[in-house]
Symmetry: D2
């Protein structure tokens, strides 16, 4: 990845295309619209609220990130998306029961205008849902073409100079990468013959890449995490990122585990359970979809704790993650974690963490950030896997043969030092020897 000589300016409109116009997508859209009217704050968004320290601790140079980087502004955004239900963003937001009516009603007109394009829907990948607003076609290759046309039409209708896509749809059933995913040619052949290892999200992604639209994947699905997609992205100079938005319990896990490891405290076991009541919970009640999520969630600790390096501290950790569909919670989500610590001479201690959180409230700022940063990446000339965005993912994509960084603080350092480096500023190391004689 080369330091950009210059980054193209964010001129014209940026289309943000969201496959899956449910709770997360509509919360993102509504919040962005409210924020640009000054009627709400985009809390949780690094690009909008965050600052970045430049230079020495005593320099007092801490601009807002949005003043430091040449990002598209909220006013330049046009939202679009696909869904397998025909509800517009207003109806969908009401149904999601995330935001209060006073928030939704204040921007009713604009929300109503965000009407989903018909979805690609092979039901075998999302078993608990029953779509009605779907594309028809005989091959998956044909579906790709239909999505490409949607993108071109959207850009034209909305006067967009460019677009990015962020997957906000469901978790699909678990799929291992197979031969069909190994090259562009194999994948194109697979599309033509309706290969069963090509799921809905892969079809969207393939279409986006071919249209030069950066693609970020908010679910644990395969989607863009296989060689054929990397090859296509390189060919079309498109940034990719993923996967699975890091919200709720896993977010806290990647905060707490690095803290315990920093102190070299051992861990004998970590039990995590989640109760959640929205459509996501319903989908994850299907064991095949849960498998995708579980794989995504379980990897986190291993990569942070490195049991192969710290055998005596983490070599025998028992890690279990459960997700439970619990309708009384609605869109809210609740995590309960028990951590069995091992201290000095092996003495046990325990941590219990109860997180009463809200899925879409935590995901929305991530969607906005990713859209703006993926667009920036493209304008900076980056393509393929954007590992510097690991900060946002439960299961970050990396170059092959490179282990992912899950530690939120390493991810944050990577993100911010990349920002500094893109803009020609000194990297921060926290050495700070200069303050002492």
């Amino acid at each position: 990845m080369k330091q950009p000589k210059q980054i193209k300016k964010p001129e014209g409109k940026l289309g943000i295309l969201l496959p899956g116009l449910g709770a997360v997508a509509t919360t993102t859209i509504a919040g962005t619209l409210l924020a640009r009217k000054g009627m709400g704050q985009p809390i949780g968004s690094l690009t909008q609220m965050g600052t970045i320290r430049l230079g020495k601790r005593t320099d007092n140079r801490t601009p807002k990130i949005k003043d430091f980087l040449p990002l598209a502004t909220l006013d330049q955004i046009a939202f679009g998306g696909w869904d397998i239900f025909p509800d517009d963003a207003y109806e969908s937001a009401k149904h999601a029961e995330v935001l209060e009516h006073r928030h939704i009603d204040a921007i009713r007109e604009e929300l109503t205008q965000v009407r989903p394009m018909r979805g690609v829907f092979y039901p075998e990948y999302v078993k608990r849902l029953n779509g009605t607003h779907v594309k028809t076609g005989t091959t998956k290759a044909d579906m790709v073409e239909q999505v490409r046309e949607d993108i071109r039409a959207f850009k034209k209708d909305n006067g967009c100079s460019r677009a990015v896509a962020v997957w906000c749809g469901s978790t699909e059933v678990y799929i291992e990468p197979s031969n069909v995913h190994q090259s562009i040619a194999a994948f194109e052949a697979g599309l033509a013959e309706n290969h069963p290892a090509i799921s809905n999200s892969q079809i969207y992604a393939w279409a986006c890449i071919k249209e030069g639209v950066p693609f970020a994947n908010g679910a644990p699905n395969l989607t863009v995490d296989f060689p054929a997609a990397w090859e296509l992205a390189k060919e079309h100079e498109v940034p990719l990122a993923g996967k699975d938005f890091k919200t709720g319990q896993t977010l806290m896990k990647t905060v707490i585990a690095p803290g315990l490891k920093a102190r070299m405290l051992g861990i004998a076991g970590w039990f995590s359970t989640n109760i959640l009541g929205n459509r996501d919970g319903e989908v994850l009640d299907d064991p095949d979809s849960f498998k995708s999520k579980e794989v995504s969630k379980l990897g986190v600790l291993e990569h942070i704790l490195q049991p192969h390096v710290h055998q005596e501290l983490y070599g025998k950790i028992f890690h279990k993650v459960r997700i439970e569909y619990y309708p009384p919670r609605g869109d809210a989500k609740e995590g309960w974690d028990n951590i069995d610590l091992v201290g000095w001479l092996g003495y046990p201690m325990q941590i219990k963490l109860n997180f009463l959180c809200r899925d879409s409230i935590l995901a929305a700022p991530i969607v906005l950030d990713l859209a703006l940063l993926m667009d920036l990446a493209q304008r900076a000339g980056f393509h393929g896997t954007q590992e510097w965005l690991s900060f946002y993912w439960k299961s970050p994509m990396t170059a092959p043969n490179l282990y992912p960084e899950h530690d939120l603080f390493i991810q944050s350092m990577k993100l911010k030092n990349t920002m500094r480096w893109m803009m020609g500023e000194d990297l921060i190391t926290h050495l700070g020897n200069e303050y002492y004689d």
Copy 2:
């Protein structure tokens, strides 16, 4: 602070002197003795268990810190200390009820030989205790001389080439720095006239600095955090560090708050309560001692969250910390935290954290690390405040006019990059652009 051309080798014995031979000190001593016999693991100790990544992620260079830095080994340590009760380390450890009898009895003989020197004890600084094994003398200046003699005698008796001191005594009543603390001359005069702003811990520290013994301060007391002490340390080329071991609830606070801030999640309130039953809890039941601890604990969030920079996220945070004496807990300690989060558009969320921890088990590895790293600092030619050791403190000392870093991950980065820098290795920035074309 200059990069050391070379660091003196750790030859001969290192005396570790602990004012306060209670639960923390005896747990440290016992654990170190067991570890050097291979009968227990010094879990929680970065110097003994930790590793450090050198070079690129793909280099696979991750030595143990003890193999990377020229530290004294456990075999080279001789333990000593002072206390206001005459119990030897074996008796004191049994009374503390931290370690199981099987652990204490396995090293009974060695523990028995650690007999405390008589303590400096002006009772007005620690109201709930009643010392019996104390020095007599008419002035505080005289007390300083007695402690200096103790140090010289200890080194001679134990054949130590050098020594370090780590304060493991009680929290003293809250004392603001006053005129007497502004210069060596003023302080020496104060010692001579028994100035009331000079407490027990300051007397120990002054003696140590004069003897060239690095001093780390495990309590929130003033001790070495004032201009006269800095001046004396410079004159004698002695490293200082403090203050207040970062264990338990505050440790977790400096893990979680940076995580929430990294994600730009707002915080409306943070309520922390602690229940603890040991001598520490009894001392803190005195409002004046609690004041010292409270000041130490409250500063943490402000420095991490920077409400002046992030007014809209942290400007109105309501932060309350309570410590409750609760005898059924014994040496174990329990923290309960409630955090009121504010997300996207102002929607509220909550985190509850329940930490069933053990004070001395968490503090012991810190005492050991500090002793070894302070000795290293001295051999590397560093003196005065060792900010790179902020990682270990609830309330890190810094150069005047420099804000302290409380974020555990910044502290860890600072610590490890300082280690790399001391040894001439590249600093780590996590940029990692070299892995991508």
Copy 3:
């Protein structure tokens, strides 16, 4: 207490007079108004939602309590009250932020008509508040007369055949019963000479009793719990009840402690902390008011666990209760309890209870029930302390020399068996031998 030959019918209107028209009172009023329009359910109210089993388990006779007892109906109620602020119930309810606007606005007109009469306000009994809508007068005796006139006027204006009062005002500073409380004569003299041990709530109560108005005391204040009040109540044939509504943490304590005791599990310690943010929290931030509350809260365990009988299980219990003012909580309240259990052979176990509750939501149904049951008691010919209503109180009043029952299940059994006995039904013992041969 004699079994009533017949209970007077609830003819005409019942005035419910609430000294203190804040969060609890307005939530009660609004909920009752909504319930009688069928726009909300009076959940938590035994008189409205509860049932009572009559006869054998196989008889299937389980009427609603309101169909079993001759209670006033919701349609027969007229609400009134006093406050030291002039806001009507609509304004006050909005300010309290307990109920959503859709609930308050649906009955705006009726709420607006509930305008507080001027309050009796000697500020030394409630230090953190500053009343503006207060009565003037030179003696406390004069205040009593003014309140009596208020009652008579209210009854006349609203066409009430009778009235009851339920104290919904603040916790007052702790007052021990003194000579002035020992007889009617002493108390009347005290009123005339503004005796400092006679607080605001006592003035209201004295006026009510003299007007034949049953009085229930929702705060831990002395109010009606002293010999002079008992004597006056006997003379005027007025029922009294108190004190301190049992909501939140104490409610749970009187549920869990009896359960542990039923199983003969020992308790080594019980630590309770509360965080709350409303006016109640602000008042309790004053140590003198907290004293009243603390005494009320601490007695609970002793009476349930009977350490004098079960020395080996409860003789050394360490019980600590903290209340913390924490504005981010608003009217919501949160309790956290840690219970240290002792089991078979002394092995320890722990319970942690976190109750995210809402003060006024829990108190409102109690206010309604007490009003209706105190009116019933009066019509049944009962007077003086109504111990059968212990169910509703943190600190139940009893006959002198009788220990209070705090166990919620004994209280519930006492309440329901009293109801059965009043109506001539068999008492329930749960023996049930008749179902087996």
Copy 4:
């Protein structure tokens, strides 16, 4: 059930026979042995530690239950049992890791003498275990005869005048009652032809009843809860009781649910998860065994809350129970409950309960109590289902067509009033009108 004219005296030795000599059984045996030597207290045992109030509140008659009822004393007990592993009680107790070595070693000799008789073991009923110390025989009828011989031999060898059995073995796979369970004749035929619906525990129970040995069933298995067993018990005048010891999470559920119901607070959802690491956890990791446990655990709320009577409060409750095998917990067990409450006008509140308990520590006193009370029941002339012992069961057996009482406080009242009635004392109703004039 007739009031006994007189209860036979507990003369001679009482054999307590425990099928399943694992953690629960050995903890019971060790604790009983320690208690009778005065080396430990049988905490949690109502028969040993409990008291019973007799007469009026002011009578001060509160004898210990063991002084009130003619129970066998601890000195009169002889322990025996069966297991599918050959370890004696000393080895088994050490392996269980429930009790500390100092407790086990103090009674090593006596424990060593408790050697299990060979177990009945058809492995299809307990899938995760692999027994080695098992009986051989061609039919289940033959197994019954072998167990009968064991009982007779044990009584003779130990000089017992009588015996009782308490099932302390594993949870078996879920079995619905079928034709074979409908009569003595059908069951005897089933035994002869190895009917698959007859499990190990049923074989033990059948043998016990035929030998006149009262049988209490500590697991959720069918065991003695079917018509043929009732018929046989009647014929042999043997008391039966079950099923599934009420410990841990369900114990707390039957404490808290009645408290919420007493106050008519609604419940929208109750989520319960358990983590446990002992053999019990391993067995329950098998879905078929979990089914038995789940059925036992889920019924609790329905019977307490009576959703058919209180449709608006409990009609839509979502109740989910999870049990998770988590080896770091060992024999300790941890429950986490989330309860979604509904209050006044439908406003939501939440309770979180975290119970750090110990399975065998809670179960042991129940085993002892049941043994002594079942023996008492037999001497009092009671036979068949002992519903008055519901207090001890997760899923109490009742007469056909009678709903079970799950409310711990109703159960406790039933237990204690039955004790009073057996001994000719007045029943307690808590009316208490006599204390007021």
